[in-house]
């Protein structure tokens, strides 16, 4: 095994350049997430979509789990699950739906930075989430 100063230098340079590229996405996104949390938008969206959750075998309450996961992150979704009383079927359906599609405010810009169009990553992730959620809803309930 061989470690040269040149390797360390090149690696550090590549690492710093990459961190800078990601910083240009991560910092603005963090501001957007903070605004989103403070704006009350999450509550409005949750109320708007709650009636449609029966399509996935979920009660209206579960909307807050899905949307906090979709927009913010999986820890926010897990927190919502713990705050509610959901059946294990509902927890499983939410969990599996969220594995495909989560932290969108943060992850979509990162995907874009890595060379994939934003809208198409969004539709693929949401599409997978809704399709599998519907299927699980049919199977489990």
């Amino acid at each position: 095994m061989q470690i040269t100063a040149n390797m360390i230098q090149r690696g550090a340079k590549a690492g710093l350049e990459t961190t800078w590229e990601l910083a240009k996405v991560v910092v603005p996104t963090a501001v957007v997430v903070a605004l989103f949390k403070a704006s009350g938008l999450l509550e409005s969206i949750t109320a708007l979509f709650a009636p449609y959750l029966s399509w996935f075998g979920l009660s209206g309450d579960a909307a807050v789990v899905l949307f906090s996961g979709y927009f913010i992150n999986l820890y926010a979704a897990a927190g919502s699950i713990m705050a509610l009383t959901l059946s294990w079927q509902e927890i499983t359906i939410c969990a599996v739906m969220l594995t495909f599609c989560h932290s969108l405010l943060v992850e979509l810009p990162i995907s874009k930075k890595a060379g994939s169009p934003l809208s198409y990553i969004f539709f693929i992730r949401l599409g997978c989430s809704l399709a599998v959620g519907w299927l699980l809803g049919v199977v489990l309930s």
Partner: protein
Amino acid sequence: MTVLWEGFVQGVRGVITIGLIVVPLMIVLEIAQGNGWLQKLNHYAAKPFRRIGVGEEGVFPLVVAMLFGLTYGSGLIINHVRTGQVSAREAKVIGTFMAIAHALVEDTIIFLVLGAPLLLLLVPRLVLAFAMSYIVSKR
């Protein structure tokens, strides 16, 4: 105003965390490349990904994304595209795969703790990641 500031501070913290992981990761990557280990790993791990049009150079970013998360895998892709190791087309296929299947350890544990079954958390994700990136690779 405080909300904006809090968001900014959160973002800067995030960037520091990313840097603390990405810089050592890139150094390890250079050492692994210089010693020919990466070529070996890529060669053996590449098989399942060949069908979706991902060459050996693209395998390492995929493995990193699956283990550590989308940000780190994407960081490697950004670097690989810049250095010409991965084409823009390949980056799209890899990007699709890792957008669906990433941070498999962390994400799975979060819901495993809450009682969701392990296989349902992992299998659909991997299957659809392959299926979607296959479709993208054929377009």
